[in-house]
């Protein structure tokens, strides 16, 4: 076939793809007969009402000497690992605020950290383009450091996010600035699958966040600078199961809804969105109305999100220091943790809910972490 004929075919195929995408978009639009807030209104849902002392800061974890970038709760035993600009991972006892480990990282430019399911190891990743695994039971060396148990190398760009596969100490997923996600065997250091990296199946820009489905650990979602979130099946690396469009800016954070059938996203466009995994529908947008005259370039971006254990609350941290608590069914902000007493003094960069859903931890550029819990009165039966 001549080059001219190939060019004609290329043009025709591109037009066919564009036409099919438009038909898909229109057909999907027709299936959006309601959103979550509209449906909840028909059920008579009213907004959750918080007083200023219902969710209170119970602990402030101090010790980092740089901005906190990432945190993760241990699945058991109420510990938290945090990663900071100071080049350290700190493992905290959430109840006593004590530090159980302070790990100096080989590469100080850390962006993400994660606890293993059994709580024996922590992982970190960053600008060294790799993921370091530390065994918390290892002997501390003469410099007071824990040696790297395993270094997962293979990404061609920075590691922005990492998470162990739930209930599986041996597998971990990373997201990277090289536009791919990788599933690793932690025990051997091997890359088991590379997700993306090939047009058009994968992300076309940096991957900034990943979240593994707690109900089906074979599925995970990734958020990217290409303004999309993608759903992946760990068994099929060649192509994303679905691509979720809607955001107008980088998708900085993704988190599965507690039922495992939906997930939330937060973006540079200042909005959070809720998507349905099985159908691909966008169920809801959570965004504050812009003040008139606001410069869109100065609009706060969403840095991190987390859902409460029932899914009724969506915690969303923004670059302007706010931390809104959204009522997911009513679509209203019911509390701003950034404005309550004892809140952070800087941007909240990361959020995480404890395993039992009774406490929220926030990490901030003010170098501290704070633990929030329900401070109102309860009857114990």
């Amino acid at each position: 076939m001549s080059v001219a004929e190939l060019k004609e075919r290329h043009e025709a195929a591109t037009a066919a793809v564009d036409s099919l995408r438009e038909r898909l978009r229109q057909k999907r639009q027709m299936l959006l007969d309601n959103d979550l807030v509209g449906y909840s209104r028909t059920q008579g849902r009213a907004a959750i009402s918080f007083s200023s002392t219902d969710l209170v800061c119970c602990r402030t974890l101090q010790g980092h000497t740089g901005k906190v970038y990432s945190l993760d709760w241990s699945p058991e035993r109420n510990r938290i690992v945090s990663a900071s600009q100071d080049g350290r991972l700190i493992v905290w006892n959430a109840l006593t605020s004590q530090k159980t480990h302070a790990i100096k990282l080989p590469c100080a430019w850390v962006m993400t950290c994660a606890f293993s399911p059994n709580g024996q190891s922590v992982a970190s990743g960053g600008l060294d383009s790799g993921c370091s695994i530390f065994n918390l039971n290892f002997q501390i060396d003469r410099d007071g450091n824990i040696p790297v148990a395993r270094f997962l190398s293979g990404h061609k760009g920075y590691v922005s996010s990492c998470q162990y596969v739930p209930d599986d100490e041996t597998h971990l997923v990373t997201g990277s600035g090289d536009q791919t996600c990788i599933l690793w065997d932690v025990t051997t250091g091997q890359r088991l699958s590379v997700f993306g990296g090939e047009f058009p199946s994968g992300h076309t820009a940096d991957v900034l966040s990943i979240s593994i489905n707690g109900s089906n650990s074979k599925m995970f979602v990734s958020g990217s600078c290409d303004s999309t979130a993608r759903l992946w099946d760990a068994r099929i690396a060649s192509r994303a199961v679905h691509t979720f469009h809607g955001h107008k800016g980088d998708v900085n954070t993704v988190k599965f809804f507690p039922d495992g059938q939906r997930f939330g996203t937060g973006s540079d466009d200042g909005a959070c969105r809720l998507f349905d995994v099985r159908t691909g529908h966008q169920l809801q947008v959570y965004q504050q109305q812009q003040q008139q005259g606001d410069n869109s370039a100065d609009s706060p971006i969403v840095t991190s999100i987390a859902f409460s254990i029932s899914g009724r609350l969506l915690f969303a941290a923004y670059s302007n220091g706010n931390c809104y608590v959204w009522d997911t069914l009513v679509g209203k902000v019911v509390l701003n943790l950034g404005a309550v007493q004892n809140s952070h003094e800087g941007r909240i960069s990361c959020l995480g809910l404890s395993a039992d859903g009774s406490a929220l931890c926030t990490g901030s550029w003010d170098r501290t972490l704070k633990i929030w819990a329900f401070g109102g009165h309860r009857r114990v039966m």
């Binding site: 793809v17 909840s40 529908h281 899914g311 859903g357 401070g375």
Partner: protein, 256 residues
């Protein structure tokens, strides 16, 4: 006898190199056409699958049912108007807690024990709980920054005051002064000093200009000084790049 003269041979001249066909472009085009055809197949499949897809309202119903069926330890009891009674949710939550472990939930552990680290608030007046303003340990003094708590609800913030020196900056918005901390990251003009024990406001209002004059586009002073860092294979180390907030923000590495 006449002799035949052959016409003079033209002078030898080097031949031009042969024009090779553009294999790379052709192969690349072929590969792209293959990818596009595969994408067409996927899109047609997806289009067909939409015929059996449930509308969004069904998914919304599922979300409502899930949220209603699951207790949430972070949500107050019996708030909001036409909500169904939440007592059943708390029964559900308690049985969930007990079925998971015989010990208390994390929030209950956080609020038990030492009374000066408690989740104060409305519970301060409830039976069985107390919230006293105990002074910080180890002889630390809050000096002039902390006064006695005017209201029980302020106990938690007031009693956690740990400033030992008036000028010392304590992170976490507790008894801090906007001075050195702000200078480190922003140019603050003018500086403001806040007595923030019991209050959370301790911020420097800074003009939006960057300390790094070589990067006038910084707005405001971002991550690692004035720019973000980028690590790429051809760089021996880490270099600054001109945009903020995320690494990998320029397409090239600023290596020398």
């Amino acid at each position: 006898m006449a002799t035949m003269t052959t016409p003079p041979q033209p002078a030898p001249s080097p031949k031009s190199p042969p024009r090779y066909p553009d294999f790379c472009g052709r192969h690349r085009l072929q590969a792209e056409v293959q990818i596009l055809n595969r994408e067409i197949g996927f899109l047609e499949e997806e289009l067909q699958s939409l015929d059996d897809l449930q509308p969004a309202s069904r998914s919304c119903k599922e979300v409502n049912e899930f949220v209603g069926a699951n207790p949430d330890p972070l949500i107050p009891i019996n708030r909001g108007k036409s909500e169904s009674c939440c007592i059943w949710r708390w029964f559900g939550y308690l049985s969930l807690s007990l079925s998971r472990s015989l010990s208390l939930s994390l929030s209950e552990k956080l609020c038990a024990g030492l009374s000066w680290i408690c989740c104060c608030g409305r519970s301060s007046k409830a039976k069985g709980s107390s919230c006293s303003c105990a002074p910080p340990k180890d002889g630390a003094s809050c000096g002039g920054w902390c006064s006695t708590c005017a209201r029980p609800e302020d106990c938690c913030s007031c009693c956690s005051c740990s400033c030992t020196l008036p000028k010392r900056t304590a992170v976490g918005g507790i008894c801090c002064a906007c001075g050195e901390a702000c200078r480190r990251f922003w140019s603050c003009a003018p500086l403001r000093r806040w007595s923030c024990c019991g209050l959370r406001q301790c911020r420097c209002r800074c003009r939006r200009w960057c300390l790094c004059r070589s990067f006038p586009s910084c707005r405001p002073c971002p991550e690692y000084s004035c720019g973000c860092v980028w690590s790429c294979p051809s760089c021996n180390g880490i270099r600054l790049c001109a945009r903020f907030s995320k690494p990998c923000c320029v397409s090239r590495c600023l290596c020398p």
